[in-house]
């Protein structure tokens, strides 16, 4: 088995005429990591992946594999496995022949080839389908064949372009688990592209958030979720209440932030008195306060909308100063059947919200 590899992008830029599809993206993927490029449609994810694979020539910047520059190498010299969106299985070949393809072009002997193909098909649980054509397989099976074909030649790196987006929700969840297990088992470096934030969070060691071709933030999923750097990240990774206020007073690591007539207590590392701050408060961090209960931050409001989600309720509460706040409550913790107009007291601790930069993007 070859080793897992580390990949770095240094100032990667791709321009199409005057349009910049990828703008100065630098990031590192450590050996054996699972990195996901996450961003809305048109944010440049595929372009970055294609540049890594060698199908798109960067306008500027470099791509390094274990510190060695590979930018000028053609795709067939890079030895990366790739799963295309829509799988791109060869329709005129059986499953086994599809898997044999990368091995044959590497001049592997038949016996060795057969062993590898069998082992890889076992890995993705498709051994009994070896002689079928791709058109005779279900979407999930085709997806696994594409994965097997990308893995069979033990590539340096596995690139996946929205590998699960064509599947229905249940199958997608199943294959997410499989993909994760597979990654652990073979210990290779995976780079995945998706616009599904749940998939990104559940699969990856590291998530890179892109918008308009720029890298906005990169980090572990929980770090991104809890400490989004910008308003865009907060809004893209799940739901968030955005609260805009002004620092009224600073007391050590916390600050008193005034929003209209309400004053909030907020842990804040930077910012001086008088500065405006934008806070991102996750719906599940807001608690419902019972009679006599208190919290560092307390507001009152009335329910304007709610929806039942099975495991929980999602409520929208109108407040005087903070506007409408969205919160989620586990069903078993909701002490009432929600009703419009119901008045509630909400509370959250001083470290619940995260200060974010306002990049103008929701």
């Amino acid at each position: 088995m070859s080793q897992a590899h580390a990949l770095s992008l240094v100032g990667l830029t791709k321009r199409y005429g005057s349009f910049t599809a990828v703008n100065d993206v630098s990031l590192d993927v450590a050996q054996g990591q699972f990195l996901t490029l996450l961003g809305p449609s048109g944010s440049g994810k595929t372009t970055i992946l294609m540049a890594i694979a060698g199908f798109v020539a960067p306008s500027a910047g470099a791509i390094l594999l274990d510190g060695r520059e590979i930018t000028p190498l053609p795709p067939e010299k890079r030895d990366f496995g790739m799963v295309f969106q829509g799988y791109a299985l060869f329709p005129h070949m059986t499953v086994a022949e599809n898997l044999a393809f990368p091995l044959r072009v590497r001049g592997m002997e038949r016996a060795e080839r057969d062993t590898k193909i069998r082992a890889t098909l076992d890995l993705v649980q498709l051994s009994q389908f070896a002689e079928r054509r791709p058109s005779q397989l279900s979407g999930g099976q085709q997806q696994r064949v594409a994965l097997a074909r990308a893995l069979v030649f033990e590539p340096n790196l596995l690139l996946l372009d929205e590998p699960l987006s064509a599947l229905d929700k249940k199958l997608r969840a199943e294959l997410q688990d499989e993909l994760k297990t597979l990654h652990r088992r073979i210990g290779r470096t995976f780079i995945n592209v998706t616009h599904d934030q749940e998939e990104a969070m559940s699969l990856s060691d590291t998530v890179a958030i892109l918008n308009h071709g720029k890298l906005i933030q990169i980090g572990a999923p929980d770090a991104l979720y809890d400490r989004p750097r910008t308003r865009f990240v907060a809004g893209f990774l799940g739901k968030s209440n955005m609260i805009s206020g002004r620092i009224a007073e600073r007391i050590g690591a916390t600050a008193r932030v005034s929003v209209g007539a309400t004053t909030l207590t907020q842990r804040l590392a930077t910012g001086a008195t008088g500065d405006t701050v934008l806070l991102s408060l996750r719906p599940e961090r807001i608690a419902l306060l019972g009679d006599g209960e208190t919290a560092e931050n307390m507001v009152e409001g009335h329910v304007s909308a709610w929806s039942y989600l099975g495991a929980g309720h999602s409520l929208t509460v109108e407040t005087t100063d903070l506007g409408s706040l969205r919160l989620t409550l586990p069903t078993w913790r909701a002490p009432f059947a929600p009703a419009e107009g119901l008045t509630l007291r909400l509370g959250w601790p001083s470290d619940a919200a995260a200060p974010v930069e306002d990049d103008g993007d929701e």
């Binding site: 795709p75 990366f80 790739m82 295309f84 791109a88 060869f90 072009v105």
Partner: protein, 295 residues
């Protein structure tokens, strides 16, 4: 060329209802069906009838297939020229279709126009144009002699070579179109995937592109071959009367020596040969898909 068009049209089988549940729909095409019968099927049946009644009733005319050296030579010549034309037209057409398929959309439109324009020029004009180009004092021979490549003019026309040149020129657009259609259906991601899996450009072509374009190649092959069996004007002009292909031989039988039975016999043989080719081919490949009907 009119006879080539005729034979091919006739060769496309009239629509036969398969599901009688659809009888109502088939009634809608009844007028077209009757027209087809009157214009194409009836004359062909008449030809068939002549071939077994002139000059005497019986299969005498067909017996000549085995004994008459003249008709045998015409058939062998037709098959030989047909095969050579098909091979060359396929080769050129494939290269052309490949270039068009891989060109940018804007370039594709110009290429397609360039491929199709010759179809609008009369076959007669084209045959005479080739004569002008290829004859002893023609542009090609003059050019080669002036360049000092040859000393004496080459015999480029009034022989089989001339016929093949003219027929290939005529057939290339017909070869390009079915191949282009099947090449356009190839998902470009397959080619990228193949390269990503480590294949060189040539291997991608040999193992992925070519096999996927093969149905189009086969369709073009059948189309071109069938067309070339019925060529009339091009061989008549570019062959200089020395090389007799089936169509001209038939014309000679009927118009020059007035042996209607023999002419009709070879015409019938041609039609049967074409139908057989199509039948065999349709067993192997889905014809409807190839010629663009159906999804």
């Amino acid at each position: 060329m009119s006879s080539a068009v005729l034979t091919t049209r006739a060769a496309v089988p009239a629509p036969v209802p398969r599901h009688f549940a659809n009888a109502g729909w088939y009634a809608l095409i009844l007028p077209a069906f009757l027209l087809m019968t009157a214009i194409y099927v009836a004359p062909i049946l008449q030809v068939l009838a002549i071939s077994v009644t002139e000059p005497t009733t019986g299969l005498d005319n067909y017996e000549r297939l085995l004994t008459n050296a003249g008709v045998q030579r015409a058939i062998v010549t037709t098959l030989r020229i047909g095969l050579i034309t098909t091979a060359i037209a396929l080769l050129l057409g494939y290269v052309l279709a490949y270039v068009v398929a891989l060109a940018s959309p804007a370039a594709q439109r110009w290429w397609l126009l360039a491929v199709l324009v010759p179809l609008w020029i009369s076959v007669l004009v084209r045959a005479f144009a080739w004569v002008t180009l290829l004859r002893r004092q023609g542009l090609v021979n003059q050019g080669l002699m002036n360049a000092g490549i040859i000393d004496a003019p080459l015999a480029l026309v009034w022989n089989e070579l001339g016929i093949v040149i003219g027929m290939v020129h005529y057939m290339v657009p017909y070869a390009v179109l079915p191949m282009l259609a099947s090449m356009r259906e190839i998902d470009p991601r397959l080619l990228a995937a193949a390269r990503g899996l480590g294949a060189s450009r040539f291997t991608v072509f040999r193992r992925v592109f070519f096999p996927l374009s093969a149905p189009g190649l086969a369709a073009s092959g059948v189309l071109v071959f069938i067309f070339s069996l019925g060529f009339y004007i091009t061989p008549a002009i570019l062959g200089g009367g020395r090389t007799l292909m089936a169509a001209e031989w038939i014309k000679m039988q009927i118009l020059d020596i007035v042996r209607w039975g023999m002419g009709a016999m070879l015409a019938t043989v041609l039609v049967i040969a074409i139908l057989t080719t199509l039948a065999v081919f349709s067993r192997v490949v889905n014809l409807k898909r190839l010629f663009g009907a159906g999804a």
